[in-house]
């Protein structure tokens, strides 16, 4: 049996919580929230199914989660464990399919088009994959199988928890029609609100809408919406082939302080640490940045961003840190800061113009950093840091987009938060 375009979307069930349970089986079945202590700032990175029953969901402030479910076990999380299990899952996935793209730490797309001879029926293949992941990692996942990435993703969502769902080719629109428009990836609160004004609640309503009207109301995004309603991959990165998308257009890292900080030295140390993390990601992608930007959010949530273009593109910490600190010193208003961010932009795959005056120094740094990165790969991100960043040492918080996901591209951004 030959398969038409066949996409698997593999989504780990409550990934962070499930990994925590592997290390601490007593958590099993309890409401668990990963992200930090309930009195900390920051958001929920993951919640167990038991916690979700109380209305806790990811991206919700920790304090709000605590109000909904005070009896939950709140954990800081262990990013290293999650990366390790993500790698294990990835290794299993690559055994199954040649084209694997990790969309985040706990979900992946597989292109199994034309793999019928190997696996027989798609459902059979999905079942085997599901078994293999359970046996080799002890983790549950849900798998969506469809002719497009978009429908496969919706499918895995509908199959949760611990299920498999296959939408037969040709039945995509019928499968989507009764679902809420917000099930479509990319449709958030704002779009849903505007669609409701047009009387659209279900995907089926959307599919019946005139494309001209959608285009008029939503521009290019409207056409993508129409395509999505029919079950096609349309718009943004859903257009691309798995594992063949564009490199990121920016790389960034942000940190929210548990308590607002007004001390220059502490803020600068944090910026150094964030810059190191951004530089590390740039090197991981093999990219060089020409523009650096900082983001400052004060206690009152007023936020500024300021950018600087460098004389030479770089991904060397020692080159980036002075520029970042210069921006900070020029623009910080000496008020307490809630959040700091460092962004690298104007990314190029080659260094471009070399420096005449600093060339030898940059070369030496480059060699040192190659060694440092290898150590970090083996012993963790905090094994080596710049001296100035030591004081800014904060625990990396759990989030879904850490550095160096295999085959991860496409959102045009590579951002992290801590």
């Amino acid at each position: 049996m030959e398969w038409p375009r066949t996409i698997f979307h593999v989504d780990m069930d409550a990934f962070f919580v499930s990994v925590e349970e592997l290390y601490n089986p007593s958590l099993h079945g309890k409401p668990v929230v990963v992200g930090g202590r309930p009195d900390q700032r920051g958001v929920v990175a993951a919640a167990s199914y038991a916690a979700r029953k109380f209305g806790v969901h990811s991206a919700m402030p920790l304090r709000a989660a605590y109000r909904l479910c005070p009896q939950a076990v709140f954990l800081e999380g262990h990013p290293r464990w999650y990366r390790e299990y993500s790698r294990r899952v990835y290794r299993i996935l690559t055994r199954f399919a040649p084209a694997v793209e990790m969309a985040s730490i706990d979900e992946a797309y597989l292109d199994l088009t034309g793999a019928g001879r190997l696996y027989g029926a798609p459902l059979r293949a999905a079942h085997d994959l599901h078994q293999a992941i359970k046996e080799e990692t002890g983790l549950n996942c849900s798998i969506g199988v469809a002719t497009s990435r978009m429908v496969a993703k919706v499918c895995s969502g509908q199959a949760k928890p611990n299920g498999i769902l296959w939408v037969l080719p040709g039945c995509e629109a019928r499968f989507l029609a009764p679902l809420d428009v917000r099930k479509i990836p990319g449709v958030g609160q704002v779009t849903a609100e505007r669609l409701r004004e047009l009387g659209v609640r279900k995907v089926g309503d959307l599919a019946r809408l005139d494309e001209g009207l959608l285009r008029e109301r939503f521009g290019k995004w409207g056409l993508a919406l129409a395509g999505k309603a029919r079950g096609e991959d349309a718009g943004a990165w859903f257009d691309g082939e798995i594992g063949a998308a564009e490199p990121p257009k920016s790389v960034s890292h942000e940190h929210t302080f548990d308590e607002d900080v007004a001390e220059a030295q502490a803020l600068e140390a944090t910026l150094v640490k964030l810059t190191e993390m951004v530089a590390r990601r740039l090197r991981g992608h093999g990219l060089y940045a020409r523009t650096l930007q900082i983001k400052l959010r004060y206690s009152d949530f007023s936020t500024i961003t300021r950018a600087k273009t460098l004389p030479c593109a770089t991904h060397v910490d020692a080159e980036m840190v002075p520029a970042v600190l210069e921006l900070f010193r020029a623009h910080w208003k000496r008020k307490p800061v809630r959040l700091l961010g460092v962004y690298a932009q104007s990314l190029t795959p080659s260094e471009g113009q070399l420096s005449l005056l600093e060339h030898d120094k940059v070369e030496r740094w480059q060699r040192a950093l190659d060694a440092v990165d290898k150590l970090r790969d083996r012993f963790g991100e905090s094994s080596v840091t710049l001296a100035a960043g030591l004081r800014g040492g904060f625990r990396e918080r759990a989030h879904e987009n850490p550095a160096g996901l295999p085959g991860k591209h496409g959102s045009g951004k590579d951002s992290g938060e801590s």
Partner: protein, 370 residues
């Protein structure tokens, strides 16, 4: 104050100082030119507090004195007057009454008291032929950094030694060094950073001078003085440490190739049309008997040109910013040939005129990784 001056003299000298007249009106007096009449001439002074230019011209002085007038307005107006003597009479209230031919004009001025004091000129440290100074500036000024944050690179370094005069500029990517040997009357070595703007204004002052003219150079703790006949440019010194450039001057290059200056220039200019707008990256390939220039833009097109060249070294491909190469080829002067010296795609290359005109000229340029 009352005097009569020739319109063409006034226009010529006034236009020399326009570059330092403040265009914005944050400090109104800086938009004005200071006019001082005494003996048989006028002295005209303009300043933006970084630079000051003093010029003078003959005039028939009836009553000596001083006053200030808006420099741009005065020049724009005087340009339109017939070529005849202009009579100036300043009133107590700082107005100037002009008479020229049938025109009767009043221009509002400001008191000379509020005009900034130009620092006094110390004794000369050296006497430099104007022609030499012009060459030094023309061959280095383009390499001065335009990035404001690297302020020590926002000018060229002037090195005065008893037996030679050196000017060197770099923006961190390339470096231009021009040197003239000779006795310029310097008793001791002297080092100073000249802001780029001072270099460009100096070129204007020296523009119409005769080839024999000399420039008297002097300096105090914060200022540099260039006196050229009846004209004087005073510049604030740039502060900061100019990098130790001798460290980056290549001691030797294993490879060298001679190229026709004009052919090379024309080819680089053409090939650069297909280089990235921002990086201007082109590839130069050296192989026995020829030099190949190549550039490509993924969605626009690509081009390649081959120049015959006397070269028998190894095959080397190096990326360069075409703009940097063009800057040198425009500044190098009229010689037939230029020399391209290099090691590999990772080391600084060097351009030089093949046959000098007495001055030593080295241009070091760092490659690009494309």
């Amino acid at each position: 104050m009352e005097f009569t001056v020739n319109r063409s003299d006034l226009v010529r000298e006034l236009s020399l100082s326009q570059g330092v007249v403040e265009k914005k009106t944050t400090i109104p007096i800086l938009s004005n030119v200071l006019i001082e009449a005494s003996g048989d001439g006028l002295q005209l002074t303009a300043t933006d507090l970084e630079l000051a230019i003093e010029c003078s011209c003959p005039a028939e002085v009836k009553t000596a004195g001083a006053g200030t007038l808006p420099a741009k307005r005065l020049l724009d107006y005087a340009r339109l007057l017939p070529d005849a003597p202009i009579h100036f009479r300043f009133t107590e209230s700082h107005w100037a009454n002009l008479t020229c031919g049938r025109a009767r004009t009043k221009i509002a001025g400001m008191s000379r008291e509020s005009f900034p004091e130009v620092p006094g000129r110390p004794p000369a440290l050296a006497e430099i032929p104007a022609a030499v100074l012009v060459k030094l500036i023309n061959r280095t000024a383009f390499a001065v950094s335009v990035e404001e944050s690297r302020f020590a690179l926002n000018g060229a370094q002037l090195l005065l030694a008893p037996e030679r005069l050196t000017m060197v500029a770099t923006d961190g990517h390339r470096l231009a060094l021009c040197e003239e040997t000779g006795d310029f009357g310097a008793a001791a070595a002297h080092k100073a950073l000249i802001p780029k703007k001072a270099m460009m204004e100096l070129l204007k002052l020296l523009h119409d001078d005769d080839p024999e003219a000399k420039v008297e150079f002097s300096a105090d703790e914060n200022h540099l003085f260039f006196g050229a006949g009846r004209r004087l440019l005073v510049s604030r010194k740039l502060t900061g440490n100019f990098p130790d450039y001798e460290r980056v001057l290549p001691a030797e290059h294993p490879n060298r190739v001679a190229l026709s200056r004009e052919e090379f220039r024309a080819a680089v200019e053409r090939v650069a049309q297909f280089s990235d707008e921002r990086s201007h990256a082109i590839r130069i390939g050296f192989s026995p008997g020829e030099v190949k220039l190549h550039a490509s833009l993924s969605d626009t097109g690509s081009t390649e040109e081959t120049l015959p060249a006397v070269y028998d070294g190894p095959e080397v491909q190096v990326g360069f910013n075409a703009q940097y190469i063009m800057d040198f080829l425009r500044a190098v002067g009229e010689g037939e040939e230029v020399l391209f010296l290099f090691r590999d795609s990772n080391s600084a290359g060097e351009l030089r005129p093949a046959e000098g005109d007495g001055l030593s000229y080295r241009y070091i340029v760092m490659p690009m990784r494309i």
